[in-house]
């Protein structure tokens, strides 16, 4: 960190006195878990240990953590291709997540879905989704179901600046409004849809302005400040719950790594980068969600630095152990591939095999 405190740290310093130490430490720990998890995932993929590509959540940790802590246990989320952080923050089992990404039998989906398809319905995780915008209507559908049940559950739909241009997202926002559905549309505007800048591809000043067009409230906030995210999302969630109405919260953020784990191999991007060289470094220095929070916790005399170091060590050990659990787990047996295509498997030759 630079010696001079960033604006973000100053804001955090003004916010921390309002919180219990326990809550702050939980936030710190969860953000650190996501970061370590993603760094480990990145190491594993570079070592060729994972079957498929991964899309890392590094830099966006405050959004998943601040949002999920603002939710009740029965509230539910829909996630994206960049979903590890969301699943983790909503309570996903770290060992089973790592095993899923490694394609192992002990994974959340028994290794079948991998990084982009993790679910845990018992925790209200409706799933990551490999199709941009694909999970947004699912969350509204969950909210419709909650409304039919007459309960007060709220759904939070994570999506990106890229997805904000998908027709299905616009259609869903309209339906959520006309049918009064308790959904929080949680846009993580990380500036780039793969290589395409938000400034180029998204019309209008702010994504949150789009809520106006559909007749509900929208706001744009700093997605790098975990307390701001927590406070603003909490307000949106409670409002969605009380009024049974949609809300849109746009979090400004930046992904630190490439769109996907293979991007480093695309040599031609070195000559023609899609973002400024110093952008990530500047954000890391001035707006890192974990660094600035840590600084505020220490400077604000909330916890001694040694306690945070201790958490760091515990988290590192936890992630290391998750990776070991994953890598030591078996792959599922091949013939299970045709299980669970259908609910009932008693019909002959259904599903058909590749040869007979």
């Amino acid at each position: 960190m630079s010696h001079e405190k960033s604006e973000q740290t100053e804001t955090l310093l003004s916010q921390v006195p309002e919180y219990e130490e326990e809550t702050l430490l939980e936030m710190y720990q969860q953000m650190q878990e996501i970061r370590e998890f993603e760094q480990k995932t990145s190491e594993l993929t570079e070592a060729g240990e994972l079957p498929g590509a991964v899309h890392l959540y590094l830099g966006q940790e405050a959004i998943a953590v601040g949002t999920c802590l603002a939710l009740g246990e029965d509230d539910f989320i829909g996630s994206t291709h960049r979903g590890h952080g969301h699943v983790l923050a909503k309570g996903g089992d770290i060992d089973r997540m790592m095993a899923e990404i490694a394609g192992r039998e002990t994974g959340l989906n028994r290794g079948r879905g991998g990084s982009m398809h993790m679910v845990d319905f018992s925790l209200g995780i409706f799933g990551c989704n490999a199709i941009v915008g694909g999970s947004v209507p699912h969350v509204a559908g969950g909210a419709l179901s909650a409304k039919l049940d007459g309960d007060d559950r709220v759904g939070v739909s994570f999506f990106g600046d890229g997805a904000s241009n998908e027709g299905v997202v616009h259609e869903t926002m309209n339906m959520a409004s006309v049918w009064d559905l308790p959904v929080v549309f949680l846009c993580e505007n990380n500036k780039y849809a793969v290589s395409t800048p938000e400034e180029y591809a998204v019309a209008g000043d702010q994504i949150s302005d789009r809520a106006d067009g559909y007749g509900f409230s929208g706001k744009t906030i700093n997605g790098q400040n975990v307390l701001t995210v927590f406070e603003e999302v909490k307000e949106a969630v409670e409002s969605a719950r009380e009024d049974s109405r949609p809300q849109l919260v746009e979090c400004k953020t930046l992904r630190y790594s490439g769109h996907f784990s293979g991007e480093k191999q695309l040599a031609w991007l070195e000559d023609r980068p899609y973002r400024p060289d110093d952008e990530v470094a500047t954000w890391k220095e001035r707006r890192d969600p974990i660094g600035s929070f840590r600084e505020a916790l220490v400077e604000g005399d909330v916890v001694p630095e040694a306690r945070l170091d201790e958490i760091d060590e515990e988290v590192a050990a936890e992630i290391e152990s998750a990776a070991e659990f994953a890598m030591e787990s078996d792959y599922p047996p091949a013939e299970k591939a045709v299980e669970n295509v259908y609910a009932d498997q008693d019909y002959p030759n259904l599903p058909a095999s590749k040869y007979r």
Binding site: M116, N129, V132, T196, Y274, V341, P351, K354, Y355
Partner: protein
Amino acid sequence: MADKSYIATIIEGYHEAMAEFDDSFLIGEDIRHALMGTTRDLVEEFGEERVLDSPISEQGFHGLAVGAAMDGKRPIIEYQINTMSYLGMDQLVNNAQKLRHMTDGQVSIPITITVNTAGAPGGSAQQHSDNAYPSLLNYGVKTVVPSTAYDQKGLFLSAVAEDDPVMVFWPSSVLGQRSEVPDEPYRIPLGEADVKREGEDVTVVAIGETVPMALSAAEELSDEADIEVVDPRSLLPLDEETIFESVRKTNRVVVVDSTNRTCGTAGDIAARIANHNFWDLDAPVKRVTRADAPVSYSPPEEQYILPDEETIIRAVRDIVM
């Protein structure tokens, strides 16, 4: 002539097609920075007006391409991922494909749609691993699936010149394939199959990524059976005659394709052979396909679903024994 990789001929084909047709433009996601490696240097050569990075709005940009085609343009669409065609399906099937017919020929929709690399095998899982052509063939969309660098360039340039929508599928596992490829533009007409290996005993009709598997199986089996490998290259139009002729000679056939078994491409080709070559056949027509299941992420399950050399060998042995 030069030794070129499949992906190099994609880049070259794009440059040549856009140079040849002033009314063409390319639209797709992340094409200016060539995230998939296929569109390199196009924006430098043809400018941002003709190389459009689209917002993530597949149905929208597909529909825009249809509208531009109505106004006389020759759009090329690149799908970044194989399953994107599902998102553009209404504009592709219900509009692009039907417009000539429903206007009784008043309009041409000369759109080329390239379907990029991501896919199986490779841990791409359920939503990024489909070869979506059987459903599109069923709806009548012209489709080519080149399996070599040479075929790719020639078929792509023909696809762009066609006055109808044409899908060009680039199977992920053949992108590294290398052939001797002319430096100048050339066209391979749609509807011409290629005999990739001549043989006397068994015909293996193989499509796209299964062509190298069939060729390798043929070598593996060379002591047991002399295998002829026919690559249709173009699925619609389909060169039936080359397939029928091969089966007339060998009297035995296995059809291989990496799409689902039910209503898959192999089923359709097998039915045509059964109809036409019934009296030539000394054994049942066999199919090796994907199992009828979505593609799993974990490698053993993924392999269980996909066609492979081992299963092709088994199928050949079943009909020559």
